[in-house]
């Protein structure tokens, strides 16, 4: 259960909550007793001052009961908030170690909903459940002890009332259960469609696909509505049933009481039954109320339970790639080696890389070229340990990448992904990102921007390094985003730079300038570059030609032009299209 995530302090608060509620119930049940005392005093011929003395005691009782209730509410709210805070933190700490394989298992949208909405659901439920689950049994049992002396007919009526409630709630929960389970997935869908529409609005509009988007959304929304309607149509019976049962139970107790009194012999017996009847009806309703508090809670529980399950799925999830323990130490050379590496995607089982072996020596440039789908990007993600090879070994600085501690391994790379990732913030916070955030000086940032040919446009921006950047870099052009992304890699001064098709949005002139300044000013670094254009990689020390996951050629540009038909084909097709 999710409750195991409550820490010690929270359990102490729960204990305090129990104490407060016990006091509160005691005080609440004490009030009618004073009323009895007053009645007895009146019959014994009492005075005004005696009545008012009881009055003061009752008022103090009521006030203390309020204080106790507030105390209990305070504790319950605190426990709920603490639990959700801890859950959110645990979730983040697990998700932060996710690689694409793990993210793919859940989907990003679902991870977002789980850390936000699902936690809120659980928090509300726990705060509610805490007070109800403590208060109801105390109240119910206490009231029951006062009933126990009455006639069995009354007890039977009360039991029948409870049975009606249990059966109806049980039935409704049973039939709606599958529909409750469907809610989170449908909500994920709604989120997904909204997110897609908003983020891809240009494509949607360019193709006049607004109506298509709206239709898809409408269908999902319809599904959610029908699913919900199924639940609400049935659940809407519960409040009237609860009210009806307590109404009819009161009536039944009075009616049974009347019959009992009619049958009874002797005025004393009749008077006893009469007072029993009034007492019984009061306490029976109290038992029923306690009972209904619990059933109301149960009624709201399916959704919270689903949320709690979704949270626990992450908390108990074993990440696909366990972390290693080796620190990088001093031997940071920037050497990357593949030894007979094959890889198939865990989900599909399709082989993407087959028996890849090569070595990128310190300060050298290795380029990987090949048609789309040939496995180029996958090769890079094996170096950063986003995936693990199915067989063979990937070594960095002479060690299997699996042995390194994640942060230590990361620190070896400057990584430029295919699609630029830009964060909301400033130019500075995007370039001096992550572990460089506190280390890089303004000069370092400017130098990185300069190498990435980005200093010109940044200096023209309002605020320079402090110029505001929107989430996803929406206020930058594609080429600008890519250059910021390159500057980020450069700024890190890592010994190996991994560039995944990272010149694609640059014009040829800028592409060339970036490559030249990288070569001249990022000395000693090893470059592993994935590219589409032969022009971008002609001067690499080693070029690997990939085709359907196999290396079909390796060597320098000149050697490959000579000996690798596929490479020549790619090169020629690009030359004739007028690259130069």
């Amino acid at each position: 259960m999710i409750l195991k995530y409550l820490n010690r302090k929270a359990w102490a608060l729960v204990a305090a909550c129990v104490a407060f509620i016990t006091v509160q119930v005691f005080l609440d049940l004490q009030l009618p007793r004073y009323m009895d005392d007053i009645t007895l005093a009146l019959q014994a011929g009492s005075t005004v001052s005696e009545v008012t003395r009881y009055g003061w005691r009752m008022a103090v009782c009521a006030l203390l009961s309020l204080v106790a209730a507030m105390g209990a509410g305070y504790m319950a709210a605190k426990v709920g908030a603490m639990l959700s805070k801890d859950l959110r933190l645990s979730l983040f700490d697990i998700i932060k170690g996710f690689t694409p394989q793990d993210t793919g298992h859940f989907s990003t949208a679902s991870l977002i909903t789980r850390t936000t909405n699902d936690v809120v659901q659980v928090q509300i439920f726990v705060a509610q459940a805490l007070t109800v689950l403590i208060k109801a049994p105390i109240m119910g049992v206490w009231a029951l002890t006062r009933i126990s002396g009455g006639s069995w007919e009354w007890t039977a009526a009360t039991a029948a009332g409870m049975l009606v409630i249990v059966v109806s709630i049980g039935y409704i929960l049973w039939v709606t259960r599958p529909h409750y389970k469907a809610i989170p997935a449908l909500t994920d869908d709604i989120n997904q469609h909204t997110y897609e529409h908003v983020t891809s609005v240009r494509v949607v509009r360019a193709y006049n696909a607004e109506h298509f988007q709206e239709r898809v959304f409408r269908e999902t929304s319809d599904d959610l509505r029908e699913n919900d309607l199924y639940i609400w149509r049935r659940t809407s019976l519960l409040p009237p049933i609860s009210a009806g049962v307590s109404d009819f139970l009161t009536l039944a107790i009075y009616w049974i009481g009347t019959l009992l009194i009619v049958d009874a012999v002797g005025i004393d017996e009749r008077q006893r039954l009469f007072s029993d009847m009034i007492v019984f009806s009061t306490y029976a309703i109290q038992v029923l109320t306690a009972f209904m508090m619990v059933t109301n809670l149960i009624q709201t529980s399916p959704r919270s339970l689903v949320s709690s399950k979704r949270i626990q799925e992450i908390l108990t999830y074993g990440i696909a790639i366990p972390d290693g323990a080796v620190k990088a130490g001093q031997d940071r050379m920037g050497e990357v080696e593949f030894r007979g590496v094959s890889f198939e995607y865990p989900e599909t089982g399709a082989e993407v890389l087959h028996d890849i072996s090569f070595k990128a020596e310190r300060g050298k440039t290795v380029a990987i070229i090949g048609s789309t789908g040939s496995g180029k990007s996958t090769l890079l993600s094996l170096i950063t340990r986003f995936y693990r090879p199915t067989s063979g070994q990937v070594l960095v600085d002479g060690r299997d990448v699996g042995e390194y501690e994640r942060a230590e391994l990361n620190a070896k790379f400057g990584f430029v992904p295919q699609a630029s990732v830009i964060f909301a913030g400033t130019i500075r916070s995007n370039v001096a990102y992550g572990d460089m955030a506190d280390k890089a000086s303004d000069d370092d940032v400017w130098e990185a921007l300069d190498i990435a040919q980005a200093s010109d446009f940044v200096s023209e921006m309002d605020g320079g390094l402090d110029a505001e950047v929107q989430q996803g870099g929406k206020n930058l052009s594609g080429g600008q985003r890519q250059r910021i992304s390159i500057a980020r890699a450069v700024c890190r001064r890592a010994e190996t730079l991994l560039m995944d098709d990272s010149f694609s949005a640059l014009d040829f002139k800028t592409d060339k300038l970036v490559r030249q300044s990288l070569k001249a000013r990022v000395k000693d670094a090893t470059f592993i570059i994935v590219a589409q254009r032969v022009g971008s990689i002609m001067d690499a020390d080693l070029i690997l030609v990939l085709d359907e996951g196999r290396i079909v050629g390796s060597g320098t540009h000149d050697e490959l032009m000579e000996g690798c038909p596929l490479y020549r084909e790619i090169a020629v097709s690009q030359m004739t299209e007028g690259t130069i």
Partner: protein
């Protein structure tokens, strides 16, 4: 986390509330299902009236039995049976009224929630690309899912529950005054004072609820950014910094969630207290009246029941008022999105000409995304039908901007763009776009099949 000035003010959770008009507008959104709400309210009103009549029959039965015992005359069983059957009938009708009323209200709420979602979805298509870019996807998503869900699940409290509680309250007052006006006044005083206290507390809690919404929105934005770019965040060891922002928001959320929950939870406690005080006052005043000889035990018993009955609507009203303000906050967020300025209505504009040859003329066009930073300065160019025109330039030169203008994602500040001599701002947007096939810089994929991605519904 840096505060992004491009976030619209409405997502910062600062705004004065305008609850009445907002709820009226919500009611308006129900469309024809408004009648479900009206009928549901009337049915629950019947239910309240019948419920208030109940104690009267019960006390008649009690009196019948009590008198029978004390006077030793025996009990008129036929009359007792008659009273019990009447009461059973009343309770049965009350049950049916509540069952039907609740169902109608809940169904209407669900259908309205769905309608709101669809209105929001259709709204996206009517907002300009520039305006959409200035909003955060996480925030928009939260309006689509959380806010509509909030309105759906708590909306009933605004209308039907409120109607039934208020009518029950009124019914109790009438019955009380009919029984004994002195005790009625004494019972009402703590209830009215309690009601004022609750009103104050609601105003207090509203502040915390808004703080909580705001923190949740910030959390959504941060989490979506970090999880979306997790590869880069991870490789650059940016996780620690992200975690720091996360912890900061999480702490702030802890405080706001705790406060809103605590203050919100105080209201039922307060009504419980009011109820207890009412009980105490009835007991004391009743006892004193008995000493005076101006009241009977029967009256006190009746008032003890009334004091209990009053608690029910008061708790309901307190809960409803607490929920109403949450609904109002959510409504405002939904309406704010719905009220985002739209692109100019173009239904009166022309279709694209039938036989388009494909001559594109750009004449002296200037454009800036942000006033003061002009991207295109008096650009002119022409493309004749069948011609292949390439636009070359360094990144940031404005190449994409030209495509943005041609597709009318934005309109030029000055100058004229025409196709076959027809100004594109004179043609409806979707008609202009129909004339183009575009391959955009970034490859976007929608979740779905390859066919759906290629046809995009056309």
């Amino acid at each position: 986390m840096t505060v992004n000035p491009a976030i619209p003010r409405w997502s910062q959770g600062e705004k004065s509330k305008n609850m009445g008009p907002t709820l009226l507008r919500l009611l308006h959104c129900f469309g024809k299902y408004r009648w479900y709400i009206y009928i549901g309210s009337v049915l629950t009103l019947f239910n309240s009236i019948l419920t208030v009549l109940g104690p009267n029959y019960l006390s008649q039965m009690t009196n019948l039995v009590a008198d029978g015992i004390s006077e030793g005359t025996g009990i008129d069983l036929a009359l007792a049976t008659h009273l019990a059957l009447c009461l059973a009938a009343i309770y049965a009708v009350a049950f049916l009224c509540e069952a039907a009323g609740t169902r109608l209200a809940w169904v209407a709420e669900e259908i309205n929630g769905d309608a709101l979602r669809k209105m929001l979805s259709e709204k996206i298509s009517r907002i300009s690309v520039g305006t959409l870019d200035s909003m955060r996807p996480g925030d928009i998503m939260s309006r689509f899912a959380n806010d509509t869900d909030n309105i759906r699940s708590k909306g009933a409290d605004c209308f039907t529950n409120m109607a039934s509680a208020v009518s029950m309250f009124a019914g109790c007052i009438v019955m009380m005054f009919l029984t004994d006006w002195r005790l009625a006044v004494i019972t009402l005083i703590p209830n009215l004072l309690g009601f004022l206290g609750i009103r104050m507390m609601i105003r207090w809690s509203q502040k915390y609820y808004r703080a909580q919404s705001k923190d949740l929105g910030r959390m959504n934005n941060l989490v979506s950014e970090v999880f979306d770019g997790l590869n880069v965040v991870s490789v650059y060891n940016g996780v620690d910094a992200a975690r720091k922002s996360y912890v900061e928001i999480n702490d702030s959320l802890y405080v706001s969630a705790f406060r809103s929950r605590f203050v919100g939870g105080l209201m039922p406690q307060l009504t419980g207290f009011v109820n207890n005080i009412g009980y105490v006052l009835v007991c004391i005043a009743g006892a004193l009246f008995i000493l005076e000889g101006t009241a009977t035990y029967g009256t006190i018993v009746a008032f003890i029941i009334f004091a209990k009955l009053l608690n029910h609507p008061l708790t309901r009203i307190a809960n409803a008022l607490a929920n109403v303000q949450m609904v109002a906050v959510s409504c405002e967020r939904v309406f704010e999105f719905l009220d985002t300025p739209e692109m100019e209505d173009e239904s009166g504009k022309a279709d694209a000409p039938k036989d388009v040859k494909g001559r594109v003329d750009i004449e002296d066009v200037s454009f800036s995304y942000v006033p003061g930073t002009e991207i295109l300065h008096g650009l002119s160019l022409s493309a004749a039908p069948g011609q292949k025109v390439a636009i070359v330039g360094p990144t940031g030169a404005g190449k994409t901007t030209i495509a943005n203008l041609l597709l009318r994602f934005y309109d030029a500040d000055s100058g004229r763009i025409s196709i076959d001599g027809m100004d594109i701002t004179e043609i409806r947007r979707e008609e202009v776009r129909r004339l183009f096939s575009v391959v955009l810089q970034e490859a976007w994929m929608l979740r779905g099949t390859i066919r759906e991605n290629i046809t995009l519904g056309n």
